[in-house]
Symmetry: C2
Subunit: 381 residues, 2 copies
């Protein structure tokens, strides 16, 4: 049954693996805040084969709420990984050619060390004792994984939304390790509107009495707050047009209920997604990761210091109807890269899907990314 569901072009059955570092004091992760984190587990998956000279590795970065399982199927699952449309034999990230790595960020709740992990100092989940981490810290942990895999240089670091921020952070921190970066529907720092949406989501969580100052792992979870945060998120992921196309003002039943129950299909969609999300995501991780994104800022000379050139080719993609990470934020990056004579390709895709487009417009993305990666391989900088 499951195997019938495996689409042509899938990488097939995959497993998440775990890399741990920081078991000795000197090996701990020193964070931007000055705190230390140890031990650190990095959950990761790989697809395709690393070639002999280890020059075909691509690091794919995930979004706020996704994870290391980007492609293929876990034993028993009927749905593939979150970017399966893009990763596999013959696909944009062609696993016949490239060795693709995807790693869950620290602070997350999908296998990498985060606030729901056991604090070795207490034997209990960290909760708010987990240190506040940054995108730089996430990249630092990934660097340890890449080192462990014996890879000196990544053919590409690629990601959409938060994933694009991690790719930018790699370019800022380890330019000598990166041949190319693919930045999709992202920004080099959040705008005040993005900060605002993140804050409201966090407040919804932190005002939930079950949140209990982050200490809820032995009791009821702050599902009410987390579902509201997720509902806000979903509104920002869609465009006005895609909401109109999908829901318009359609009712679940024939007439108004004259109550506060679900009447409109869009209400049903939001509530359903809020309820599903709380089963698969940790509220504290939502706080930590959104905070990391707030603090993220590699704008201008923080990306490339004055007088310096970096040997990275950039592909930047944005979507016309994305109002969460609008095109002007991509163009800001592109303008800067061009002003610094970096080899940069920019494309705005005329999608109506809003921010979600990055997970839906895979045909257009495939065309652009295949062509770009071929150039990176064929014409080394």
């Amino acid at each position: 049954m499951r195997q019938e569901k495996i689409k042509t072009g899938s990488v097939g059955l995959v497993e998440t693996r775990y890399f741990t570092f920081g078991n000795t004091e000197g090996d701990a992760l020193v964070l931007e805040s000055g705190q230390r984190l140890a031990p650190v587990i990095q959950a990761y998956e790989t697809y395709g084969e690393l070639n002999r000279d280890k020059s075909n590795a691509i690091l794919v970065e995930h979004t706020l709420t996704s994870d290391a399982h980007a492609a293929g199927y876990h034993e028993g699952d009927i749905h593939p990984g979150w970017w399966d449309d893009m990763i596999g034999p013959g696909k944009a990230f062609d696993t016949d050619k490239y060795f693709v790595i995807c790693s869950n960020v620290i602070g997350g709740c999908k296998g990498s060390t985060g606030p729901s992990s056991i604090n070795p100092g207490t034997g209990k989940p960290y909760g708010l004792d987990f240190p506040v981490i940054t995108v730089k810290d996430m990249v630092e942990a990934q660097k340890r994984l890449v080192d462990y895999l014996g890879i000196k240089r990544l053919l590409s670091v690629a990601g959409g939304s938060m994933g694009g921020m991690l790719a930018l952070q790699w370019a800022a921190d380890y330019p000598e390790m990166v041949d190319s970066a693919i930045l999709i529907a992202t920004a080099w720092k959040q705008s005040p509107q993005q900060l605002a949406f993140a804050e409201v989501g966090r407040q919804a969580i932190m005002k939930d009495p079950n949140w209990n100052n982050g200490n809820y792992y032995n009791g009821p979870r702050p599902e009410n707050g987390l579902s509201v945060a997720r509902m806000i998120g979903h509104i920002t992921y869609m465009s006005e047009t895609s909401m109109e196309d999908k829901f318009s003002r359609k009712l679940k039943n024939n007439d108004y209920s004259f109550s506060f129950n679900v009447d409109f299909e869009v209400e049903s969609y939001l509530n359903y997604n809020g309820n599903v999300f709380v089963k698969r995501f940790d509220a504290n991780s939502y706080l930590y990761i959104t905070r990391a994104l707030n603090y993220f800022d590699v704008s201008g000379e923080k990306l490339i210091p004055p007088g310096r050139t970096i040997d990275i080719r950039f592909l930047v993609i944005s979507f016309l109807s994305d109002w969460l990470y609008p095109s002007w934020q991509s163009k800001e990056i592109v303008r800067f890269l061009m002003s610094r004579q970096q080899d940069t390709t920019y494309c705005e895709i005329k999608s109506t899907y809003g921010h979600d487009a990055f997970l839906l417009e895979f045909e257009e993305e495939t065309r652009l990314i295949k062509h770009f990666l071929k150039k990176v391989v064929d014409e080394p900088g």
Copy 2:
């Protein structure tokens, strides 16, 4: 002290008055849902003098969270009513010429009958026993007030945002009573995105344990949920540009706190406004009024039935950066009115303030409204 604060052009000291109807069974308000509401109190204020032939009355409609106190000062207050910039001697709604009425909608919590009012059947606040009302019901209650004031025909019905919806409902239900309608930053029905934001706000309230199925008037109030709802609202009232101008990524202190406390000024603004709001607004009213707006729909022939012409002049104003009630929604109304040969003036104001522009761009609005009202008076249709 207070009197020094009264600006030139103020209508001065004012008081809210109360009109009650429905004390006899036959006089009850029959709602769209089929339920009956009685008695019904309408809180209202008036500014200026009603002329002898009662032909100079303008009904100003308020927004989701404002009230009957549109202009002038209440005894002891240092701030004037919510649209004082627009109502007063020499102002857009010139109280030397016009008799301006503003009335709190039913379902509200500012003096008119709503879910926090005492249910005569139980002697306790209605809570969720209050019937779900619609914009049509709100207008029906206002019609009783206008009748009581002895006014047969309103020179204008005017409002922004929700206020514009009430003005449209007046035009749809009582076209013979309305000379003109001024519709600012509004829509003739909510888009799915607007439905979605409303639903998330309501869910934030209803998931607050203190909400207690609407029965909280003798205990702690659902302030957590209501403040989150308000914070979401504030994001939608501003534009990306106005947030950038006002906050950018400015910090409250010099550096990141590496915590979930307030770091950014925009976070401080949202939390402050959320906290202030819960002191002045009832959570159940937030549910009832947003629900009424969801159900509101006077699009197309619901506004003017086929083959009919109505004798109403329209002024429609929208704001370029308003993404909550964007210009396309105003243009939709305008196109329809023009197609039906209604006398219609449309202006899109090039403001960066987003939806809030309607409360801030009063100079431009004054110019347009003064000119429009003069025409309505001087050149009767």
